[in-house]
Symmetry: none
DNA sequence: GATGAATGAGCTTTCATTCAT
DNA sequence: TATGAATGAAAGCTCATTCAT
C-alpha cells in the first residue's frame, strides 16, 4: 500500500536530512512515483509528516508495550533489566526512527509538538501505572512513596541509557548498560531487605 | 564585531528553526545588514555555521570546565552533585543552545558531524581525566577499575539528567535531580566504607 | 441529467472565480462526481465551457424574447419601459449569469469570442427588427431614419442601465431607471406630436 | 524604472488573459528579467497587481480630471459633449486598460474590490461636485433637484457610451455617440428655456 | 457511467549566491 | 564594508488530463 511506503520514505529522509531536507521529490523517488502523485494520498507535506510521526510514536508505544509484556514472568529485577535491553534493542535496531524521534523535539511543525506532548503524557502514564502494578504485585505492604521512588530511579536510568545510545558505540555503550543493570540490582536488593516479597503471584500477572 | 553577531544570529535561528530554517536573510536581518554582506565575512552558509557550531562546542567545553572548577573545595560527593547542578543550570539557562546542541546530532552538514565527534572525544577525555584526578586525590589505594566504575555511573546519571531536561518541566524534573543526588550520595557512601579518605589534598587540585 | 448539472456548476464557478478559477475539481464536487468523470460527458474543459456559454447566451436571448413578448399589448412607451424593467429584473435575478456574461468579453478562450460575436449580431438583428415592426405598427408614415433613431436611443439607454446594474445599488440605481423611463416618455411624446398614431393594430403583432 | 515596467507588463497580460493567465513568467519575459527577480521589487504576485490596479485607477481619475478641465471655457452643452468624447478617447486609446478596468469588477483578489469601491466612491463624489459647480455657475436660480437630475441623465448616458465602447465598432459606435450628443443638446435646450443663463462667469471657473 | 491512481506541465515562491558598484 | 539587482535551482503545490478497471 502506497500510503505506508510514503510514510516509510518520509521517515527515512527525515531522519537523514530533517524536515526541509526530506523533499517531496526525494520521498516520491524512494517510492517510485512522481511528486505530484503524493498529493493523491496526502493533502500536503505537513499531512504526510503528521501521519508519519503519528505512526512513529504509535510504533514506539506498541513496541514498549511488547517489551514490557515479554519481560513478565521473571524475577522483578530481571524484568526491569529486560526492559532496558528492550529499549536498547528497539532503538539500536531502528536508528533512523530514533533520530527522527529525537528531532521531533525540535520539529518546525507546531502540530507535531502537540502530538509529541500527547504521546509523552500517555506513555508516561502507561509506564508509571504498569510499573506500579508490577511492583505492588511483588512486594506486600510497600509504601506508595517507595514505589514512586523506584519508578523515578528507573526513568532516570532509562533516559541515561537512551541518550547514551546516541552518543556511544560498541564497548563504551555496553558498559553503560552494565552500570544500569548493576544499579537496578541494587534497587531491588534494598527493596528485598525492606519489604516482604510476595509468593506465587508473578506467574499470574498480566499487565492490562 | 560583526562576525560574532553573525554567529549569535545563526545559532539563534538554528535553534529556532533548524539549519534550513536559518536563512541567510533572517540572519542578516537579525544583525541589521543585507544577506549579500554576510559573504564578506564568511565564504558561504556552511562556513558560517561551521564557525557557529565550533563556538557552541567551545563554549560548552569552557562552561563545563568552569562548572567543574567552581565545584572544587567541597566534599567529593558535593562536587559531583554541584557538577550535575552546573550542567542543569547551563542547559536550562541556554535552551536555544541546548536545542542546537542536540540537533547537531542530526545535522545535514557532514563536516559538522566530524567536529561534533572530535568535540565529544575531547570532552570525554577531559571529563574522565578530571574525575580520575579528583577521585584519586580523595581516596588512597583506590583501584583503577573502581575509579572507572564511579565515572561511568556518573556519566550515565548525567546523561539521564541531560535528556530529562528536554523532556520534563518543573517538579517532575526537580525530582529527577533529587534521585540523581541520592544516587551520588550512595556511590560515595560505599566508597567511604571501602577506601580510606585522604586529607588536605583538594585545595591543590586544578583541572585544565 | 448530469450534462446540465455540469453546465450549471461550470457557470456558477466561472462567475465566482473566472475561467481558471473554475477548476474541474470544483465543478465535479458541485455535481457530486469525480473530476475524471466529467470527461465522460465532455471532451475537455474547453468543450464544457463552450456548451455552458452557448447555453448562457441562448438563455439570454430567450429571456429577452420573453420580456419583449410579455410587454406587448400596452401603450408603446410602456412597452419600452417594460423591456428596460425586464432587462433589469433578468440581470438582478441572475447576478452570477450577468457577471459571467460580462467577463465573456475578456474570455481567454478564443472560440468563445466567436460565439459571443455571433450572438451579439443575432441579438442586435432580432432587437432591431422587433422594434422596427413594433414602431411601424404604431405610427403610420414614420420615416425609416426616425425608426432607426428611436431604436438607437433605446439601445444607448439600455446599455447605460445595464452597466449601471453593475455599478450601483439600491436607491441610486432606482433613480437611474427613473431617468431612463423619463427619457423614453419624451421620445414617444415627440413622436406622437410628429406622427399620426395607428389604431387597433397592436393585437395582431407577434414578434418572432 | 523596472517597477513601472513590471506594472505595465502586469496590466498588459491581465487584460489579455486575466489574473491567472498573467503569470509571473510572462510578466518577467515581457520586462526581460527572470521571474525570481520580480520578487526583488514586489513581495508577491498579489502585491504587484495591487500596485498595478492602484495605478490603473489613479490614471483613470487623473485622466477624467484632465478631460474635465480641458473642456472648460466652452458653452455648457459643449463641455458635457467634450467630456463624453474625452471618455471615449481615453478608453478607445487604452483598450487594454479598459478591459482590465472592467474585469476588476470580477477580480479574484478581495483586496482589489476594496480599492475599486473606494475609487468609485471618490470618482462619483468628484464628478457630482464638479458638475454641480459647473451647472450652478451657468444657471442662476436653478433648483438643487434640477441640477441633480441633469447629472443623473449625464451619468446614465456616459454609462451607456462606456458599455457601447466594449460592444460596438466603427460607424455603429459613432452613431451611439451622436445619439448621446443629441440628448445632451436637448437637456440644455430645456434648461435654457427654464432658467436664466448667467453671463461672463465661465472663463473664471476653475474646477477643484 | 464512474473512478482510483498517476502524471506532465506549469505555477508561485524561496533561497543561497554572485557581482558591479 | 556594504548592497541593489539579479539569477539558477529547487521547493511545494495545482490542475487538466489519461487510462485501466
Amino acid at each position: 500500500m502506497t500510503k505506508q511506503e510514503l510514510i516509510d520514505a518520509a521517515l527515512l529522509h527525515y531522519s537523514l536530512h530533517g524536515y526541509q531536507g526530506a523533499t517531496m521529490k526525494k520521498i516520491a523517488d524512494e517510492v517510485g512515483i512522481k511528486p505530484a502523485s503524493i498529493y493523491f494520498f496526502y493533502e500536503n507535506k505537513e499531512e504526510l509528516f503528521i501521519a508519519a510521526f503519528q505512526q512513529l510514536l504509535d510504533n514506539h508505544q506498541k513496541e514498549m508495550e511488547r517489551v514490557f509484556n515479554q519481560s513478565q514472568g521473571k524475577e522483578i529485577d530481571q524484568i526491569f533489566i529486560s526492559i532496558i535491553h528492550g529499549i536498547v534493542a528497539y532503538h539500536k535496531d531502528d536508528e533512523r526512527g530514533t533520530i527522527a524521534y529525537i528531532s521531533l523535539l525540535t520539529s518546525p511543525i507546531p502540530e507535531i509538538k502537540k502530538f509529541l506532548q500527547a504521546h509523552m503524557l500517555h506513555f508516561n502514564d502507561w509506564l508509571t501505572h504498569s510499573f506500579e502494578v508490577l511492583i505492588n504485585s511483588n512486594y506486600s505492604a510497600i509504601s506508595e512513596e517507595e514505589v514512586d521512588f523506584v519508578i523515578k530511579q528507573f526513568v532516570l536510568l532509562a533516559n541515561g541509557i537512551f541518550w547514551s545510545i546516541n552518543l556511544y558505540d560498541g564497548e563504551v555503550f555496553e558498559e553503560q548498560v552494565k552500570v544500569a543493570e548493576n544499579y537496578i540490582h541494587n534497587i531491588f536488593k534494598d527493596l528485598n531487605n525492606k519489604y516482604k516479597k510476595r509468593n506465587g503471584v508473578k506467574e499470574g500477572l498480566v499487565v492490562y
